[in-house]
Amino acid sequence: MSLSVQELRVYYQTLHGEVRALDGVSFSIADGEIMGLAGESGCGKTTLGYSLVRLSPPRRLVSGRAVLDGEELPLGDPDAMRRFGWKGVSIVPQFAMSALNPRRRIGGMIAELLAARKLRYLELLPELERRLDLVRLPAAVLAMYPFELSGGMRQRMVLVLSTLLNPSLLVADEVTSALDVSIQRAVAQLLAEFRDRGLVKSMLVITHDLAVLYQIADTIAVMYAGKLVEKASADVIIRAPRHPYTRLLISSLPEIGARHARCRLKGIPGQPPSLLNPPLGCRFRARCPAVSDQCGEEPPLREVAAGHQVACWQQPC
């Protein structure tokens, strides 16, 4: 078991009160597993990713714990988390294209980062160059400034840098969403390749793009309004989802392999609830086509089949 997260609650402090961006989320990721995390924007998936890396104000840890390789992560203490950054939990952030300091040579910056961990740049250089080769970047980029690279090159550079110390968990946050459709696949494949080669032990891939997850993820977790609503293997989520929200999410996608023109895309009517004052009971209630009286009570995340968890009262157990 690489990572296990229990009852994680993270709130944003705002002027209007606390926004419950993450309201009791539990899951685990096995060694070698790529877990996808899907959901609409604002459902808390990026917050979840960031919480495992570095929780800083205005985000606040309310409760919950995370254990990585048998060691508890000090999620609420950003300073103590430094020790786990990069080597324990690393991240390819959403803003990967602007993640490198524009006024530093890339190699110099990496050397500084390594020196801060008492590691020698020159010792790691051969490995670094090998990995650059893996993502098809020339070793010459190390002598360049970030603005001399294209957006895609910068993103691959960040991928190499983030995984340089072979992290136990890599959080990849919306890495494909800013890219052309034509290269999305290639980048997704690259992520899988990093895992296959053991450069990254396990991975949490956050995206709103289920097609990407279907391509590389072993398991997929679906989030809605700060909670996990369903988690199962990628195949099951795509082919046999049980939660009404997941079903709508899947049906709102063009069918994989199908021609676009044949089925009209359906959006999900309505808006997700405000997380400032989330309603009691099931949070999907207001938009759910299968709502019943029972939904006034909050449905727990229950195992409905081996490795398949759903948070909905409608599920026949």
């Binding site: 950054g85 952030p93 006024r103 980062l113 400034y145 840098l161 983030s162």
Partner: protein, 330 residues
């Protein structure tokens, strides 16, 4: 990079031409007649005044067509001829100014550079430490809000008169004559200190606030958040933020030059420091128009030169401009 410099030089050239034009234009188109003003001080009868007026108009070339006057003005300017000072007749304006100039350099260069360095240092410290921030920031805001001359007056009054530890007038003791001696050097330094201090403090305030705000802004930037996510120690993240905040601060230095120069002028007046500021005040009070024009030109040239030096520093420090990626620094 050549494009960057070409653009900058174009702006400086335009500025210079515009400034010289203003310098030429204003005396000619402002209401009031400089020659009449000048003659008003010597009481002569109207006929004689008319004759003298015509004579001076001819001497100063005011009876020529305007475009000729304008060209003549440029011609003389390029030969370094700024006319003769009326109040220090018959010393050429350039000579009068050349005598005052060293004092300005002595005052301005250390004040600008030291306030910039110290301001950046303290601003960066303030951005790091909440306790220090609560001390440095209010003090810095107080200094920037002060009119230069008032701070100068306060310092002169308190340190010079109440405590009586520093002289408050002139560039050296009246009893001394300029010489390469220790006594003279010490006197020079003593007289220099208070004007310097008042310029330094106001500049320090502005720079410290600028640096503090820039660092806080930079710490929110994507690269800073990424470094933190990789577990970089705070020291390293701040080092990167400081490096990036430096560039806008350099541009800010150029933009502040005009303000500092204005501050220096009034500070000199408070301390009777014999630089261009005191000279200008005397010229204005005695309506010595050639001297006013000359001082104006020197100030313009000084500021343009300062801007150019800053530009060079910017290019040296910014890889982006150096590699010709962009032509326009923030």
């Amino acid at each position: 990079m050549p494009r960057y410099f070409a653009r900058k030089l174009l702006i400086y050239a335009l500025t210079f031409v515009l400034a010289v034009t203003i310098d030429w234009l204003i005396p000619r188109f402002m209401p009031g007649d400089p020659i009449a003003n000048m003659l008003a001080r010597v009481s002569v009868n109207t006929n004689a005044a008319q004759v003298m007026h015509d004579y001076y108009a001819h001497v100063f070339g005011l009876d020529l067509p305007l475009w000729r006057q304008y060209l003549n003005f440029w011609g003389r300017l390029l030969q370094g001829d700024l006319g003769i000072s009326l109040y220090l007749f018959p010393t050429p304006v350039t000579q009068v100014i050349a005598r005052a100039l060293p004092y300005d350099i002595l005052l301005l260069v250390p004040a600008i550079l030291l306030s910039w360095f110290a301001g950046n240092r303290f601003g960066a410290l303030a951005a790091r430490n909440r306790w220090l921030d609560n001390v440095v920031s209010p003090v810095a805001y107080l200094f920037t809000a002060m009119p230069y001359m008032w701070l100068a007056i306060l310092l002169a009054w308190y340190l010079g008169l109440v405590l009586g530890i520093l002289p408050i007038a002139g560039a050296y003791a009246f009893s001394l004559h300029p010489a390469w001696s220790a006594a003279f050097g010490l006197s020079l330094l003593q007289h220099w200190f208070l004007p310097f201090l008042s310029l330094f403090l106001v500049g320090f305030g502005g720079q410290a606030i600028g640096m503090r705000n820039l660092i806080i802004y930079e710490l929110e930037a994507d690269y800073a958040r990424y470094l933190e996510a990789l577990g970089a120690p705070q020291r390293l993240v701040r080092k990167h933020a400081f490096g990036n905040a430096m560039l806008p601060q350099i541009t800010g230095l150029a933009l502040a030059l005009g303000v500092v120069v204005a501050g220096a002028l009034v500070t000199e007046v408070v301390f009777s420091y014999p630089g261009i500021g005191s000279l200008l005040l005397a010229a204005i009070q005695r309506q010595d128009y050639f001297l006013i024009q000359g001082c104006f030109l020197f100030i313009i040239i000084g500021v343009l030169l300062g801007n150019f030096i800053v530009d060079i520093a910017y290019v040296v420090l910014d890889p982006r401009t150096r590699r010709g990626m962009t032509g326009e620094p923030a």
